[in-house]
Amino acid sequence: VSTRRSSLWLRCYPPSWRERYGEELEGLVEQMNGKGSVAWRVRRDVALTGARERLRSWGLAGPGIPPGTQAKAGALLVLCAWTLFVVAGMAVQRFSEHWQDFTPISGRALPSGEFRVLVDAALIGGALVLLGGACVLPRLLAFLRGGGWSATRGSVLRAVFSSLFTAVATVGLIQWAHRLDSLQRNGHDPLYGIAFIAWGLLVVGCLGMWTSVVVEIARRIEFPVGLLKVEVGLAVAVSLAMLTMTVATATWWITLAIRAPWALREEPSGAVPSPFLLQLMAAMALMVLATALAGLGSARALRALPRMACEQRVG
């Protein structure tokens, strides 16, 4: 087995684990396989254990995790799930612009209601996430003043530059879009289409960077028990908002598919196109995945609460 390939597997493991056991594990794999190729069973075992150790280092799996770390990790998983949900929401938002214009007034009430629920839940979810951030703000400032800035400056600056770049790209794309007609903007200009996808990837990357910065900083900050309880409560509420949005989007989609399938493709009334649009299906899958992750995060955080209360009583 080549050392390079072994090292690639080791990337599954958290850095501290690699530092302690990485060389031994690599040596053992080499000893087991000599110069021959590594068995599939061994590869799977190393990769799975690596993933488990990674989750454990994040406080998301395994026994023996302190309850505070577990609660914080669960709440942060909900935050990451929210970011994923925002990406899915951006894809759904593309369908929200004109569907009412293509739906007959008689069939508009139900999907409008479902869409209203989706929008309201999104607003509530967004407000809860901001509230969660506001609650942590004093601790964050204390952390930055206490030497945290030098430790996290690199990631923060990368996220800031990524945001600036995305903002410039957004302005450029908007100016370009103003010079195009509706058809060109909606897939008939391949160059614009590619630029739009690249812009979307930039936005996703930017969101990912900021989420990673927040997670990195939050893991370094010591949360008092009271604040952790608030954050867990908010995380559960955000998860419920995500569940509501997922259900509302699914029912809105089904209702339109039954009553006005043409509206999803912005085609004239009476046409019967397939309601299974690739973009909507991908967005829906992402929503379900994000909601499931948020559910897991909430459950993990909630399970830590009794142990936290117990430790508080003993302390």
Partner: protein, 119 residues
């Protein structure tokens, strides 16, 4: 033994649990990773993967049940600590309690005949 404690141990002490197998192997002396795998395969007929082995080693070291000795090249031998020996004895006690219970129940139970065959 109180029921609650027994339940906890029963969850921990299963005959094919990597930590139990590693502790058992180290009970006969210090070993490094490859020797551990070979020994476990001989006495328990269980093939542990290298990731599973080091995952369990990490956990056992964290609990202070095993400790590493000076590294020899890329390998590092491990040995049982007094706390590890105590934990192993506790696990074995739990396992033997289950084995004893099973034996008692089997002795008391009437011999069963296969379904459909004459009694």
């Amino acid at each position: 033994m109180p029921t609650q404690k027994r339940k906890g141990l029963a969850r921990r002490a299963r005959a094919n649990d990597p930590p139990l197998l590693i502790l058992t192997s180290l009970a006969s002396g210090a070993k490094h990773g490859y020797s551990l795998l070979q020994d476990i395969e001989v006495f328990a007929d269980v093939q542990l993967g290298p990731g599973t082995l080091y995952g369990a080693i990490g956990r056992l070291e964290e609990r202070g049940w095993i400790e590493s000795l000076a590294a020899a090249g890329r390998t590092r031998p491990y040995q049982l600590t007094p706390a590890g020996r105590e934990a192993l004895e506790e696990m074995l006690g739990e396992l033997s309690a289950i084995v004893d219970e099973a034996a008692i129940r089997l002795r008391k139970a009437p011999r069963l005949t296969p379904a459909g065959s004459p009694a």
